[in-house]
């Protein structure tokens, strides 16, 4: 220590009174303390203590204390953000950091870089880690959940004989349907023996459930601290539940507590009562179901009987049964019907042929003399409509009717003596068949009237 006083003299020596000549400024003292601490304490320390006077607005300020001592702590915002669990007064933690002096206050402080929980905090951390791990393994997968039986005959209630939860389950089951049997599987639900016992019981029920007639398991325990419920967070219990072949309903602790066992179970319920209600069917509902089926059964038979009656009645109405005489008349009727059909059919066939013939005849007419007339030819008939084929016949006629394509002209032959000359002239004008005369027109104009009507 004497070296402290061998250091260089204080700066304000001029103003200093002789009494303070050997005194050092505060800053020097604090500086020396700081240097001493930095030199003689390791740069990284782990300190266990309880948090108090926590102020966690931005940077965190708190004290770490135990029964006999306390130290101020600082945790800068950047470090505080890394803390993954709720920090509160009274929580026991392990703080990692370094000791230093805050010169402005001359205060020795612990500068914390990292906080870890111990005790309850450690359990919570373990629980979270376990949940993460089991989720990764698929222990909570919905596809792995077994459906609950609609009407279980026997339910294994895995809990402590002394648990209040057991009475809740028994009361609820009795109220809903006393016919559903309960099998109490007494296990420890707290302490070190609890987890192995629960796991062994679940395994046994899974193995022997057919022999025991067990259709479902109800795993339950009342509320408690995280330590009290810890058996239900153990891996052994989680694994036993995961491989269990019987559907499991779990209700552990209060509604707000979540245990691993509940997450692995096929159905999680908030309370033992709710778990019992989930598993034990309601007698009234079942009774109604039976009544309905009973009604349907009766109705089905009545319908079936009615169906048989209807068929019988239909058979009775059938001609073969109701009018056997008709069976004899049958063939005769067919013959009459056939001849009647034939009678109507025959005229229809002949008429069709006649119509066809008429059509052909009309067609033939159409392609007859008309076509020739349209090309400029004419023919001549006498007053009786007889076609005149020579001049001689024309001279003999009282009147001549000359037929054009679009009408006819009637004329009276006048110059009978020159009939031959006229005939040759006509021949020049009018080609071969029927005789025709140009003069006819003129003549018709001269003596009209009677000639028109071919006298």
């Amino acid at each position: 220590m004497p070296r402290l006083f061998d250091d260089p003299p204080p700066r304000r020596t001029e103003d200093a009174k002789p009494k303070s000549g050997d005194a050092m400024p505060v800053a020097d003292l604090v500086g020396r303390i700081k240097r001493t601490l930095n030199t003689h304490l390791p740069g990284k320390l782990r300190v266990v203590g309880e948090i108090s006077n926590l102020s966690d607005r931005n940077h965190w300020f708190f004290s770490l204390k135990d029964e006999s001592a306390a130290i101020r702590c600082v945790m800068f915002a950047s470090a505080a953000r890394q803390v993954r669990f709720p920090v509160r007064d009274g929580l026991e933690v392990v703080a990692t950091g370094r000791v230093d002096v805050f010169p402005a206050q001359g205060q020795v402080q612990f500068y914390v870089d990292r906080l870890e929980p111990v005790g309850q905090g450690a359990l919570e951390q373990r629980l979270r880690a376990m949940i993460d791990e089991l989720r990764g393994l698929g222990h909570f997968d919905p596809e792995h959940k077994r459906p609950l039986p609609a009407i279980p005959r026997r339910i294994a209630v895995v809990t402590s004989r002394s648990a209040a939860a057991l009475q809740d389950v028994i009361d609820t089951a009795r109220r809903r349907w006393a016919g559903c049997e309960l099998v109490l599987c007494d296990v420890r639900v707290q302490g070190d023996a609890a987890a192995p016992q629960i796991a062994a019981m679940i395994d046994r029920l899974s193995r022997d459930h057919e022999q025991l007639g067990i259709d479902a398991i109800l795993l339950t325990r009342g509320g408690g601290s995280i330590e009290d419920l810890w058996a239900f967070n153990e891996r052994a219990v989680a694994d036993a539940l995961y491989r269990c072949e019987v559907p499991v309903v779990a209700a552990i602790g209060h509604e707000t507590d979540v245990t691993v066992a509940e997450l692995v179970a096929d159905v999680r319920c908030a309370t033992p009562t709710q778990a019992a209600m989930t598993l034990v069917p309601d007698r009234e509902t079942l009774s109604q179901q039976v009544d309905q089926l009973s009604d349907r059964l009766g109705l089905a038979l009545r319908r079936r009987a009615q169906q048989a009656r209807d068929r019988l009645r239909a058979a009775e109405r059938h001609t073969a049964v109701s009018r056997p005489d008709k069976l004899l008349h049958g063939p005769g009727e067919r013959l009459v019907q056939a001849s009647a059909r034939l009678a109507t059919l025959l005229p229809r066939v002949t008429k069709a042929n006649r119509d066809r013939l008429d059509a052909l005849a009309r067609h033939l007419d159409a392609v007859g003399p008309q076509r020739v007339l349209e090309r400029g030819y004419t023919y001549t008939t006498d007053s009786n409509g007889k076609v005149l084929r020579s001049a001689k016949e024309g001279q003999a006629a009282t009147s001549l009717t000359t037929v054009f394509a679009n009408g006819q002209v009637v004329s009276i032959p006048t110059d009978r003596p020159h009939a031959d000359a006229e005939g040759s002239a006509t021949k020049r004008l009018v080609p071969p068949p029927p005789a025709k005369r140009r003069r006819v027109k003129r003549k018709r104009k001269q003596d009209d009237g009677p000639g028109l009507f071919g006298g």
Binding site: R154, L182, A300
Partner: protein
Amino acid sequence: MMPDETADSSGSKPLSFEQAIEKLESMIDDIESGEVGLEEAISRYEQGQQLVKRCRTILDKAEQRIAELTPDNASPDTDVDE
């Protein structure tokens, strides 16, 4: 013991409530479908009535049974059957 009139066709074990309900439903379906003959339908109706009776008997069990299974017991049969 339960009266055994509705024993499974295979043998001795009385039907559970659920089995009885299922069997009853399938019998009703058979009758309703009209595919079974009338005599067969009547016979199934009678069996169905037995199943209804069986279900009602199960439901009417008023006394609650609570068996016990202790962790150390090696033969589960004995301690379950009262």
